[in-house]
């Protein structure tokens, strides 16, 4: 338990250990720790930044989506209007065509009737002449009585 030269030896050992620790142990280890702390801090900052960027991008996307929806609605609206116009026009055209066709039909029917009337008239006149011929039982000078026949035909 007595103090002796061990004290000197220990003091020298202590000094050497502290010197060694100061030179070769402390700086690289603390350097590595601080470097890593910096990397972690940078990483955290980057993740914060990314989060912010993401929020901005999401807002932008939402905005664009809204715009697109509005545009789509507008386009649909326009298409509906156009369709309505087209349908109206077509209906209009259909109507007028039907009218035309009906009018034409009437005209044709009129013409046909007139033609039939004419035919009938001619046949009646021929019958009348034939009847008259039979009644008179003699030949009538066709040329001489043609005016009578024409008059008869006109009366029909």
């Amino acid at each position: 338990m007595n103090i002796n030269a061990t004290l000197i030896g220990q003091a020298i050992a202590f000094a050497v250990f502290v010197w060694f620790c100061m030179k070769f142990v402390w700086p690289p280890l603390l350097g590595a720790i601080e470097e890593r702390q910096k990397i972690i801090a940078d990483g955290l900052e980057a993740s914060d930044q990314a989060e912010k960027d993401l929020a901005v991008a999401q807002a932008q996307a939402a905005e664009q989506l809204k715009e697109a929806k509005a545009q789509a609605a507008e386009i649909i609206e326009q298409a509906k209007k156009r369709a309505k116009v087209l349908v109206d026009e077509e209906t209009q055209r259909g109507h007028s065509e039907r009218e035309n066709i009906i009018a034409q039909g009437y005209a044709e029917i009129d013409a046909e009737r007139n033609r039939a009337k004419e035919d009938l008239r001619k046949q009646v006149s021929a019958l009348a002449i034939a009847g008259a011929e039979k009644i008179l039982a003699r030949e009538i000078d066709k040329d001489a009585q043609a005016d009578i026949v024409a008059k008869l035909v006109d009366e029909l």
């Binding site: 338990m1 103090i3 002796n4 030269a5 061990t6 004290l7 000197i8 030896g9 220990q10 003091a11 050992a13 202590f14 000094a15 250990f17 502290v18 060694f20 620790c21 100061m22 070769f24 142990v25 402390w26 690289p28 280890l29 603390l30 350097g31 590595a32 720790i33 470097e35 890593r36 990397i39």
Partner: protein
């Protein structure tokens, strides 16, 4: 406990350092050195303390060499935890710029802790091995082979540490405040009047000298006492088993605490040395 000892001989044997000295006949050991005076060496203290110090530096230098800034291995993380622990304690207490204090604190903490942990090695193992080696290799009587394996139970070691710290206290006091500032601190406090200079000087000198003295004696006293109790428990025969365990568990707290206190007080004393009044 070897049966051929009496209890007091046993305790005496376990608490004696292995001594080496040079006499006229060359190198001598133990009892031959009883009148060698100052120039004798406690080779067990030197061996264990320097061995543990080299172990500490080897482990930490290895970690420093392999240190990456990426994901650390578990070993590196453990070393870095120790570094962080010491560094945060230094930064909390010491607010100046000094490249020595933090490595000094780390060295003190880890080295003293490792030496303290030798206290948990069962008290008979190392003396028995040393006795066996001494008797078989050198033909010595095993009773004359001493091996006190806890270096911090040697006053030489604790005083060497404390004197190292004391030297740094004085060095930084003079470096920061200048010689006049240091002398002024010793003589003009706490009573700032020329008539009180002798009183001040006595008070301040006691304060200054009490620092290394208390550092050395606290560590020595705690470890010596705990080692003594371990040895006493070992003399109890079968009863040592239930007693040894709680005492060892208790020292899981005490041993790091003593290392921590030594480190913390070193930091505090050195930051006081940096304070300019």
């Amino acid at each position: 406990m070897a049966s051929e000892y009496t209890t007091s001989e046993y305790i005496q044997h376990h608490l004696t350092n292995a001594v080496m000295c040079t006499t006229e006949n060359g190198i001598a050991f133990n009892k031959a050195c009883s009148d060698a005076g100052f120039w004798s060496w406690h080779i067990d203290t030197l061996l264990w303390s320097i061995g543990l110090g080299v172990l500490f530096l080897w482990v930490f230098t290895n970690a420093a060499r392999k240190a990456t800034t990426g994901v650390p291995t578990k070993g590196q993380a453990f070393i870095e935890m120790t570094i962080e622990f010491v560094n945060s304690n230094v930064n909390e207490t010491f607010h100046g710029k000094n490249a020595v204090i933090a490595p000094l604190a780390l060295t003190i903490f880890v080295w003293v802790l490792l030496m303290n942990l030798m206290d948990l090695v069962p008290v008979d193992i190392l003396p028995t091995i040393a006795g066996f080696i001494g008797s078989s290799a050198f033909g010595m009587d095993p009773h004359d082979v001493y091996m006190k394996a806890v270096p911090t139970t040697d006053l030489n070691l604790t005083f060497a540490l404390a004197l190292g710290v004391f030297f740094l206290i004085i060095y930084y006091s003079i470096k920061i405040k200048g010689i006049s500032g240091f002398v002024k601190e010793l003589t003009m406090q706490p009573f700032n009047h020329w008539a009180f200079i002798p009183v001040n000087f006595i008070l301040e000198s006691v304060t200054l000298i009490a620092r290394p003295l208390s550092l050395a004696l606290r560590l020595f006293g705690n470890l010596y006492a705990s080692e003594l109790i371990f040895i006493l428990i070992a003399t109890l025969g079968l009863w040592q088993l239930p007693l040894h365990f709680p005492w060892a568990v208790f020292h899981i707290l005490v041993l790091p605490l003593q290392a921590f206190i030594f480190m913390m007080l070193t930091i505090v004393y050195l930051s006081l040395a940096h304070e300019d009044h």
